[in-house]
């Protein structure tokens, strides 16, 4: 057996596999190779040492009285608890709100601001978009029109599309 083969067997044993020390070829190799023999001891020792860390420990008699004192001096009364409850809630809400704002911005900004991207259906046949005041080209002095006024304006525009008034200087084709 060669060193790398022995090492493979030892590593498999180290991972909780079968015990290969019974393997005759391995035993012969370990008897003559001090390096592999040391590696085997290290494998065994490693699991024994980690096993030794598994120890049952219980709190001593002074543990809870000391904890009571610390809780009392930590200044956490009923108000503190309410604060930490609110803080806990806020910690969960803030990322959710931030995500919501980001998503909203992600949807609306590429479409040119916060204009509604969805068409509004009026009646059964007329389809138009809700426009901003600038797009409707209303004078700034004019008060913000009501929704009905805007709708009437847009319907007028839509109907007038077929018979557009002549611009000054434009010759009529009639």
């Amino acid at each position: 057996m060669r060193c790398h083969e022995a090492k493979t067997l030892l590593e498999r044993e180290g991972k909780g596999g079968d015990l290969f020390i019974e393997d005759e070829a391995l035993a012969r190799h370990l008897a003559v190779c001090s390096r592999c023999s040391q590696a085997m001891k290290a494998f065994r020792l490693s699991s024994e040492l980690l096993g030794a860390l598994r120890e049952e420990i219980e709190p001593g008699p002074s543990f809870y009285p000391r904890l009571r004192e610390r809780l009392a001096t930590s200044g956490v009364g009923e108000a503190g608890v309410i604060f930490f409850q609110a803080w806990g809630l806020a910690r969960r809400l803030v990322p959710a709100l931030a995500l919501g704002v980001l998503l909203l911005a992600g949807v609306t900004v590429p479409l040119g601001g916060f204009r509604s991207p969805l068409p509004v259906q009026v009646g059964q046949t007329t389809e138009f978009h809700v426009f901003s005041l600038e797009e409707l080209n209303l004078p700034a002095a004019v008060e913000r029109p009501t929704q009905d006024q805007m709708l009437a304006f847009v319907l007028m525009e839509t109907e007038g599309r077929g018979a557009r008034p002549e611009a000054p200087g434009e010759r009529s084709g009639k």
Binding site: G14, Q38, S47, R54, I57, G60, R68, L71, A86, G88
Partner: protein
């Protein structure tokens, strides 16, 4: 040994116990410190065992457990009702242990001369000795050579019996990364032990030769 035995955890918490736990959590959230203490007494042994696998001195274990319970009390407001309490508390304990391991000075190299006599004897016996104190001291010394995250990974796996996913969650990394840490920690620990064994054997051979020379 299966994972549940390794964890020292009860097979399953009864419905009655869960109800008691939920009631105690609610009372503790309302500021009842007695209820909180009663809640801790249901879980304190697990926390002590977990911390004890990282820290040797009993007083340090108690100090760290105090920190864990204080943190748990302060964070109880954010605890989701109906969620299991034990894993939540365990996560706080693991984080506290990690913070502690980061604070203590790491010794990347260790030689045979650094060991106490009892530890050398344990090493010479190839681990066959019943001296658990020496074994714990030696284990602590060897693990102190590892980076904190690697130490956390190997202890959580080999001592606490946690699954890779749980270790990854505790370390804040992916499963493959946790596996790599675990592999690296095992390798490093074995390399350190192998070096110590080699030094011990060389020293033994030297002293044997000296004795033979003296006799002849």
């Amino acid at each position: 040994m299966n994972d549940k035995e390794k964890n020292h955890e009860p097979a399953e918490e009864s419905g009655e116990q869960l109800q008691t736990e939920a009631r105690l959590i609610q009372q503790a959230k309302e500021g009842d410190q007695r209820a909180f203490e009663a809640l801790l007494k249901l879980h304190d042994r697990r926390v002590f065992v977990l911390i004890g696998s990282f820290i040797r001195r009993r007083q340090d274990v108690e100090d760290l457990a105090q920190d864990v319970f204080l943190k748990a009390y302060l964070a109880l407001g954010g605890f989701r009702p109906g969620a299991p309490f034990a894993p939540w508390l365990k996560r706080i304990a693991v984080n506290t242990c990690y913070d502690h391991l980061r604070k203590i000075r790491r010794r990347p190299e260790m030689a045979l001369d650094d060991l106490a006599v009892s530890e050398k004897m344990y090493l010479a016996a190839g681990g066959g000795s019943d001296d658990r104190v020496a074994a714990r001291d030696l284990a602590e010394r060897v693990l102190a050579t590892l980076p904190p995250k690697d130490r956390l990974a190997i202890t959580l796996r080999e001592v606490q019996g946690l699954e890779i996913a749980e270790i990854a969650h505790a370390l804040g990394c992916t499963r493959p990364a946790a596996k790599v840490r675990l592999f690296r920690a095992r390798r490093a620990m074995q390399a350190t032990l192998q070096r110590l064994i080699r030094q011990e054997e060389q020293m033994g051979n030297r002293s044997r030769r000296r004795e033979q020379n003296e006799v002849s």
